[in-house]
Symmetry: C2
Subunit: 340 residues, 2 copies
């Protein structure tokens, strides 16, 4: 709180009309709070992309077949996906973590950006049974926590989280419904672009899953393990560890936000280290961000995942930090202040 | 039109759900159209900051005194302003052009980023007489056109325009009212942060200026010379030349948009090369962007000018270009397409 006040005062002395850098000023203040300094620094940026397959894809909830998850991981490892391009643009390191993809990657696994932390070849179909066992859930959390620690150790000062997993918007919608008490009709959207028929089926899948797994006193861990995905749970793990380490994390889009909502329910201080990259075009995202009381940095009608929104937002967070450290004050620049 | 269709088809083959990069896809297509290629390239980026003083400041329309314009130019030349920080963040060259600042810059003038194209030490008070003569107007247009040509010659492929000029939101509001037929109450806002009393005065100033200079058949050149500012007219010149050269320009905020509206009225093809950086927090900006039928790239509640919004938006435009050229297609990456 003391840092926040001092950071605001420092901003007010910068050579610009009071408040004229808008939300960039809020970002700068949040960075000061997280790093507990008036000289916040973004030394190194890294985006983590967690990938996993989903048993729920048996229910025909996605526009793309199951094998796309593994194929896209190979695309990441070869540098051809959107996240690769945006990471290069923003000078952001990239790590790709397999926490449950139903495929192998041949010599793609030799890539220095790849981590094999495969827990199982995809979750179970959560219409029939819990998506994962408690042991598997713990492994997924730990796979995420590990990446936050590795980042901290490597002197990364801004982390992004994103995901790849055909079927995972169904998990995310189920989590939003369960954790925020929202009807499936509101949380379910078109994901990769499904038609009306599949959309109706997806709503039914989420409704039936919520009924099946509902339990008195269920917490976020219950719902994550019953209707979540390995990549979602791993992102929750990143956020829990990042809160412990006071490492800022840029939450990507719709699916990443589900991991964040769960993490915040498990440890409310997670919220202090979160930046919200963008408002996804996936239907419920705006509503969820409103419930969280946050305004995302970008709003470009994107809905791709992979951490692409996070990668595009990270340079703006870096700009806010550098504004705080590099911009002259009225006094330093001999500029007259506002008239009385 | 042919390029647009081919660019859309190329985007649809990229490894992502159809349309999932949202407005970044629109940006990529517009770049393809401007450069007439399916391989758009952003080789070098440059932001132009035009500065000038305003005779209308005698009427007490700003929260800051007149000398701040010159002081801020010195701040630019020493690298301490927000635009310097954001330009460094985005790897953007910066040029500062004095087209009418009521101050000298000592050895600041030796800076390689500085251009002395001073037309006069500020415009005249447009409540009493036209802001500039036709000869001065022509010089200001040419000062802008020159910078677009210099940029093209230096192999700059993305240009930003911004400004510094205490009093210039009053000019911009008058221009919006005159060119778009909007009442002064709607176009006048708080600028650098004026109180209610000054705001009421500013509305009256704009109303009286419009009455004084109204003329049957008046075009954008009439209004620019009568109620504009040298930096605004110079930005109009940049846009007119950039349209001739097919050089994309990122229009910064409220004041820059006034220059763009005038340029589009003088030559409608200007609109094809414009990107709109951000929605300023200055009241009328959103309304004007809506009238233009454009959606800005960012919306961060900023209202600083100096080209700061343009500098923050340029990396996103670059990312769109690189997405178009570097991202793999489904075929190249062996990724399965959507199911039937």
């Amino acid at each position: 709180m003391r840092i926040q006040k001092l950071a605001q005062e420092k901003l007010n002395r910068k050579t610009k009309p009071l408040g004229s850098l808008g939300r960039l000023e809020d970002i700068a203040i949040q960075l000061c709070e997280i790093q507990q300094t008036l000289e916040p620094k973004i030394t190194k940026k890294r985006t983590l992309v967690f990938a996993a397959s989903h048993g729920i894809d048996e229910e025909g909830v996605s526009a793309y077949p199951r094998e796309v998850t593994g194929q896209m991981v190979l695309n990441f490892l070869r540098g051809g996906a959107a996240i690769n391009v945006f990471a290069r643009c923003g000078n952001i390191e990239l790590s790709v973590i397999d926490v449950g993809v139903d495929a192998g990657f041949g010599n793609g696994s030799d890539s220095p950006m790849f981590f094999n932390r495969k827990i199982r070849c995809g979750t179970r179909n959560f219409l029939k049974e819990p998506a994962m066992t408690f042991a598997e859930f713990s492994k997924a959390i730990e796979a995420g926590r590990e990446q936050a620690r590795l980042a901290k150790f490597a002197n990364v000062s801004l982390l992004g989280v994103g995901e790849m997993g055909i079927g995972n918007t169904t998990s995310a919608s189920a989590l939003f419904s369960a954790l925020l008490d929202l009807p499936a009709e509101e949380t379910v959207g078109r994901g990769t672009g499904i038609d009306d028929e599949r959309l109706a089926r997806k709503v039914q899948v989420v409704k039936r899953a919520l009924e099946k797994h509902r339990l008195d006193g269920a917490d976020a861990a219950h719902w994550l393990s019953h209707v979540g995905g390995f990549e979602i749970v791993a992102m929750t793990g990143v956020l829990l560890e990042a809160a412990d380490l006071r490492l800022p994390v840029v939450v990507d889009g719709f699916v990443s936000t589900a991991a964040a909502v769960a993490a915040i329910q498990l440890n409310p201080s997670v919220k202090e280290i979160c930046f919200w990259a963008h408002c996804s075009n996936e239907k419920a995202h705006k509503q969820v961000l409103d419930i969280l009381g946050t305004t995302p940095i970008l709003s470009l009608d994107m809905r791709l995942g992979e951490g692409t929104g996070a990668a595009l937002a990270m340079p703006l967070i870096e700009a806010a930090a550098r504004m705080m450290t590099e911009m002259a004050s009225f006094e330093e620049a001999n500029v007259s202040t506002k008239r009385a």
